[in-house]
């Protein structure tokens, strides 16, 4: 594009750079501040944003070690951050695996098999997913209390119950995988069927190996979605050793027991891995965004 650039153009570019840097500074301020706070001694010190004295006390506590203060007082870790992180990872991994399994088979059915009410089911699934789960919390609580009366390991205050609750959120993933299956020509499976494969074998041995990349994408998306989930987890889990990070982190910032520095270390420790996974998966997430999904 041959556009004549003049003096005003250069001014505008400088102005744009300046404006962008101001905005970037505002955007990054909370993130950089929390790193600096995690390295600053004490939970109340304010004033210097760049720590004059580096202290690892908050990191020690976040990693589960006790810390000995200068006056000899031993400080125990206030919360089991690593246990919470483990709970979060465990729940997110298991539920994501189940979500992938459930949505893959369903996507195969929708992409390849012919049956009545197919488009009705598909559309009502999308419509259902628009209702935020936070609104149905009362019912979810009541349902899991009832389930817990029959199957104790799926009730309130169990990780099993939370995992099962997360499997409900499969509609978007079914659509993603279905879209991918539809790009694979049906002739490949038909050949397998001509050679005597059943429809299950055609799915399991032929189609599935070709869909591994999309399954990994769905796994990562489901993992991120469940590890940051707060509303259901906050209703189903209440006892400290059971909590996930998303539910537990808020306990650091109670007015009566304000642990700002300890929170900062725990936040960086738990937030950084999730952020990195998110950035690595950015490409797929962005392509999903334009189809209407909003992150929670």
């Amino acid at each position: 594009m041959a556009v004549v650039t003049g003096k005003s153009q250069r001014w505008r570019i400088t102005l744009a750079h300046l404006g962008l840097w101001v905005l970037i500074a505002i955007t990054l301020f909370p993130l950089l501040a929390v790193v600096s706070i995690s390295l600053r001694p004490g939970n109340f010190a304010t004033g210097s944003l760049i720590p004059t004295e580096i202290s690892l006390e908050h990191w020690k506590l976040a990693l589960g070690f006790s810390h000995i203060q200068a006056d000899g007082v031993v400080v125990q870790p206030p919360f089991p951050v690593l246990l919470w992180l483990w709970n979060s990872i465990k729940i997110a991994t298991i539920s994501s695996l189940l979500i992938v399994a459930v949505s893959t088979t369903a996507a195969y059915g929708f992409a390849r098999l012919k049956f009545r009410f197919k488009s009705t089911i598909l559309n009502s699934m999308l419509l259902l997913q628009m209702f935020p789960v936070a609104v149905a919390l009362v019912a979810i609580y009541a349902i899991f209390e009832a389930i817990g009366g029959v199957i104790p390991w799926l009730g309130i205050e169990t990780h099993g119950g939370l995992i099962v609750a997360y499997i409900g959120g499969v509609a978007m993933h079914i659509w993603t995988i279905k879209g991918y299956f539809e790009t694979i020509p049906t002739e490949i499976e038909e050949c397998a069927k001509v050679d005597g494969a059943t429809s299950w074998q055609a799915f399991y041995k032929v189609l599935l190996p070709m869909a591994v990349p999309i399954l990994m994408v769905v796994f990562v998306l489901a993992f991120i979605g469940t590890i940051i989930e707060y509303p259901i987890a906050s209703v189903l889990l209440r006892e400290e050793p059971n909590l996930t990070l998303a539910v537990g982190s808020k306990y650091y910032l109670y007015e009566q027991r304000y642990l700002w520095g300890d929170f900062a270390a725990a936040a960086v420790l738990s937030g950084l891995p999730i952020t990195l996974v998110f950035l690595a998966a950015q490409r797929w997430i962005v392509s999903g965004l334009t189809s209407g999904g909003v992150k929670g």
């Binding site: 909370p30 993130l31 304010t46 459930v102 609580y141 959120g169 707060y230 929170f263």
Partner: protein
Amino acid sequence: MNAWRYLFPGVLAMLLFVAFPLVYTVQIGFTNYSASNLLSEDRARGYLLEQAEVSESRAYGFSLHADGDDRARLVLTPQGEGASSTRFASAPLSLGSPQAGAVAMQPLALDVKLSAPYSLRQVVANRDALKALRLTLPDQSQLIYAGLREFAVFEPLWQVQPGGALKRLLDGAVYQPNRDTGYFEDAQGERLQPGFKVGVGFANYARLFGDADMRGPFVSIFIWTVVFAGLTVLFSTAIGMTLAVVLNWEALKYRTLYRTLLFLPYAVPGFISILVFKGLFNQNFGEINAILNALFGVKPAWFADPMLAKAMILIVNTWLGYPYIMVLCTGLIKSIPSDLYEASAIAGAKPLTNFFRITAPLIIKPLTPLLISAFAFNFNNFVLISLLTDGRPDYLNTKLPAGTTDILVSYTYRIAFTDAGANFGLAAAISTVIFFLVAILSLVNLKLTQSKDLSKGGH
């Protein structure tokens, strides 16, 4: 039928944990389900029938006598003056494996030889097993464990009457189950706790829209919810769209770097960035007030003043939300054919003209349904409100706690799960109202997307 084998798990999961909770919420909205009316009528009656008074005056001393491997006979001895001398004994019981249940006691013949009684320490060791026992004497009176030395007669307080009413045995007062209010009531309308769960029709809705004490906060919260969601979308779109346009400018260097840095708020987990802001905005210990204090000598009370709290929520949510709009707009702008801009450059158009004449008109149509989705999402942005302010500061003088920064979902959460007596029925009624609003938004969205698809198909 073959297809259902594949669909079954996914569709079942959605029905159970997405569709059913919606329907169930609507149903709960028509009941009085709450902390005081938690059980079904049968279970509430069962609970009351289990209530009993232990009569200390008719207590029996007890002793345990070993009889075979790990087994012992329980022997009851009448106490007090003038008591008969008949002792009662059980068959040998296995106390090691505690099994609740009725044990029949038989009169003990005088000439039966028993082994030496258990020491107190052995009795203590078997306490849990003893507590599970329910002894029946030949005259049908029931005894339960009443201490380390005694079993006592256990007298139920209530007796069930035909029709499900309960009679208090002490004074003969009869409490009828009132299936409109969900309580057992006597003739004077005095209620027994616990109540039970019954349908109450539109009572929750009548309370919501009719009761002035309830309607006031409800309307204010509703208005704030709409304002909050609308302004969030407006601010995020203003910033996000501007950034997308600027970052699409080819003369600008380092665009990829800028885009990555500006995308960061979206990549950080929401529960962490919201809590980080909660700390940064803290009135006394927060870094934002430290900076404001150093620059202007002010320390705004972000969490105590309703207006400031609302401003803070909008600032935080704009920070969280603009990267999403930026990414959306970037994608939409990329799809605009570049010859339009070339033509306008030849015509000598300024950048602002380009934006208002080419970019904005072309992206606004595909953007609208996405913005409506963003509005619907923020309308129910429970995580933000719950973690940042928890709805506080609260309105004064309301019957149920209601916050000035509460949005409808966080308000239902407070009614159902925190203070205010866990009124699930009322919370579900508000949720049902939200369902209708979301459904309307979704329908509008569907119409817009469909008309877009149709116009696409028309080309």
